[in-house]
């Protein structure tokens, strides 16, 4: 077996198992959980194998069904998507471990189809990340989105309504994307990304190509939840079951951010998006608006999950800012923030899920005395909150510092102010929770345990939920400590060679 087969194995394992889960779950409900874990473990191992091969031998080209590109579908893994796949499979695996108890409480009668859809979702996202074919991206995009709608729709009261809005918005986004593919195909006759990036530079003055580029940008921005197009995001994240929020929030929008980077800087040459039609410059302003608006909206929320959802809108702004600055430091910051934010939001949503599991509520004003009841959970929350604010040595600090360095390189002083300002806003909305939980326990009115702080006993969430949460929380610190290695070994090579400094 050659190492190239790892590339397809990472998709095949969850994709095939998702059908198997449905089949075997029919007879034995208990089999779903171990099967899901096994599939995601295989996926995780093979994605580590992919990254290892990429680092040792350079870009992997795998021809699906041995059809040579540009006719056949090609899987291309380089540094950019190599580390993305490892991140995706790792978080999927960790959340899958976590899911068991939470799902048994929230949707006890739908566990079998849930795991099937869960695996489809992960397979779709990995597919978008590794494929080198534009139309194949669309197919995987729809696999991921359709299962994403289902993951949201099984949630609490109001979830179907949120999911329906997401269906409409998501479909418009995906349709714009594949309309763009159609425009590109009609002028070039190719769907292979590497092939297209060779053909396209001669056609940059062609209006059809410009329209295709515009459609790609809008379509992906819709799916990514970029600020003015984020309307589906807060409701969807809030109403979904805890596990769904924890899997969709860190992964779905990040994969779209990856796709945007891929299209801006690989499919088109970087100078096209930067100088030819200065769309990156425009995106930086959108991103800045998103960062500020998302943070301010987050402050206004008392529902923890809703607050985290708006914080996601702000953080997508950071990633977009990194892409929009379009210089080496900025893009490193943006890509690093994709990974970092995935870990932070993963931790925060897992913590929220744990609180919902134990307390059945997620209203911030009722968090008094919670650290005494769930000390490890609240410790994980505090680590993630510190990272969101950007306190070293947590990872959030380093992606922000790269973004600031990128803004300095681009001489865009305004964006430095935006990043610093939003860090302060993050302090407001995260430390509000920390303050409420840690520092106000002795105030008379709290909603649980009859109001007596001394009587609160430690009552943590089950170990199968607690350990994944703590793993991700530890990951936040490890990513921060080893960020130098991550940047110099992987992310630095993902930045296009002919990029402005």
């Amino acid at each position: 077996m050659t190492y190239e087969h790892f590339a397809i194995l990472a998709i095949i394992a969850p994709l095939m198992t998702s059908f198997l889960v449905l089949l075997l779950g029919w007879f034995r409900k208990g089999l779903c959980y171990p099967l899901t874990l096994a599939a995601l473990f295989v996926s995780l191992i093979s994605s580590i194998g992919i990254l290892d091969t990429v680092m040792a031998k350079g870009t992997i080209h795998y021809h699906v069904g041995a059809w040579a590109p540009p006719w056949g579908i090609e899987i291309v893994v380089d540094y950019l998507n190599g580390f993305m796949v490892v991140m995706l499979t790792f978080i999927a695996f960790v959340v899958a471990i976590y899911s068991k108890k939470s799902l048994e409480q929230e949707i006890p009668d739908k566990i079998v189809p849930y795991y099937s859809v869960f695996l489809l979702f992960v397979a779709g996202l990995i597919g978008i990340t590794v494929t080198g074919d534009l139309f194949n991206v669309f197919v995987f995009l729809e696999i991921a989105s359709l299962s994403g709608y289902a993951l949201i729709a099984v949630g609490e009261d109001g979830a179907p309504l949120a999911a329906f809005r997401y269906v409409i918005m998501g479909t418009i986004g995906a349709c714009f994307y594949y309309l763009g593919v159609g425009y590109l195909y009609s002028v070039t006759g190719s769907l292979n990304m590497a092939d297209l990036s060779q053909i396209l530079p001669n056609l940059y003055h062609n209006k059809t190509v410009l329209v295709a580029f515009a459609l790609f940008t809008v379509g992906i921005a819709l799916k990514m939840g970029v600020f003015p197009l984020h309307a589906w995001l807060p409701d969807g994240y809030t109403r979904a079951p805890s596990t769904s929020s924890a899997i969709i929030a860190p992964m779905a929008t990040k994969v779209m951010a990856y796709l945007l980077v891929r299209i801006f800087f690989t499919l088109f040459k970087p100078y096209f998006a930067i100088d030819f039609i200065p769309v990156t410059q425009f995106l930086t302003w959108i991103a800045a608006a998103g960062i500020i608006a998302g943070s301010i909206l987050a402050i206004a929320q008392t529902d923890l999950k809703r607050m985290l959802a708006y914080s996601s809108v702000a953080n997508i702004g950071y990633i977009l800012l990194g892409i929009g600055l379009a210089n080496q430091m900025g893009l490193i910051g943006g890509l690093l923030h994709i990974v970092n934010h995935a870990f932070m939001k993963g931790t925060l949503f897992l913590v929220t899920g744990g609180i919902v599991y134990k307390m059945g509520m997620r209203d911030i004003t009722q968090f008094r005395g919670l650290p005494k009841k769930m000390p490890f959970t609240m410790a994980a929350f505090t680590i993630a909150a510190l990272s969101m604010v950007g306190v070293p040595p947590t990872c959030g600090f380093f992606s922000k510092i790269y973004l600031i360095m990128g803004a300095i390189d681009a001489k865009q002083w305004f964006f430095i102010a935006v990043i610093l300002m939003s860090s302060l806003l993050n302090v407001v909305y995260f430390f509000r929770v920390v303050q409420m939980a840690f520092f106000k326990p002795y105030e008379p009115a709290y909603a649980h345990d009859g109001g007596d702080y001394e009587k609160i006993k430690m009552d943590e969430m089950p170990l199968s939920m607690l350990i994944p949460t703590l793993i991700l929380a530890a990951g936040i610190i490890l990513l921060g400590v080893f960020n130098g290695d991550i940047v110099s070994n992987a992310i630095q090579h993902a930045v296009p060679v002919d990029f402005l400094r």
């Binding site: 139309f135 729809e142 109001g158 179907p160 309504l161 269906v167 409409i168 418009i172």
Partner: protein, 128 residues
């Protein structure tokens, strides 16, 4: 100008259908109508792909008896690839419709109406 519009009529129809679908998704208050708008939107893109692939005077891409012995001339054949892509897109569209209809049923069971205004009214009354 008139010539220009008429000669590219299929593209005009695609744009008209697309805008129609977009309007239905934004303007209509009933969820099923929104869904129909979404379908029209998707179908318009299928029409676009097929228009790109179609050729006047060409035939289906199967080699004729003469071509097997001589050299096949691609001008005589339509481009099969967009058609095949659209088979995928149709399947995707059906799946999307299925998921959306299932979600609509869930919405109806919960609120006993599919009108967005009435649902918002119910939500406002319940204080969410």
């Amino acid at each position: 100008m008139f010539e220009y519009i008429v000669s590219k009529f299929n593209y005009w129809i695609y744009i008209f259908l697309m805008m129609l679908g977009l309007y239905a998704m934004i303007g209509k208050r009933n969820f099923v109508k929104k869904l129909i708008g979404m379908n029209i939107f998707q179908v318009s893109i299928i029409l676009f792909y097929i228009s790109v692939a179609a050729k006047i005077g060409a035939t289906i891409p199967i080699l004729t008896a003469e071509d097997v012995h001589g050299v096949a001339n691609p001008i005589n054949y339509m481009n099969p690839l967009p058609h095949v892509l659209m088979l995928t897109a149709i399947v995707v569209g059906i799946a999307t419709t299925g998921v959306a209809l299932a979600i609509i049923i869930m919405v109806y069971n919960r609120y006993k109406t599919l009108n967005e205004d009435e649902i918002l009214e119910i939500l406002r009354k319940s204080g969410v």
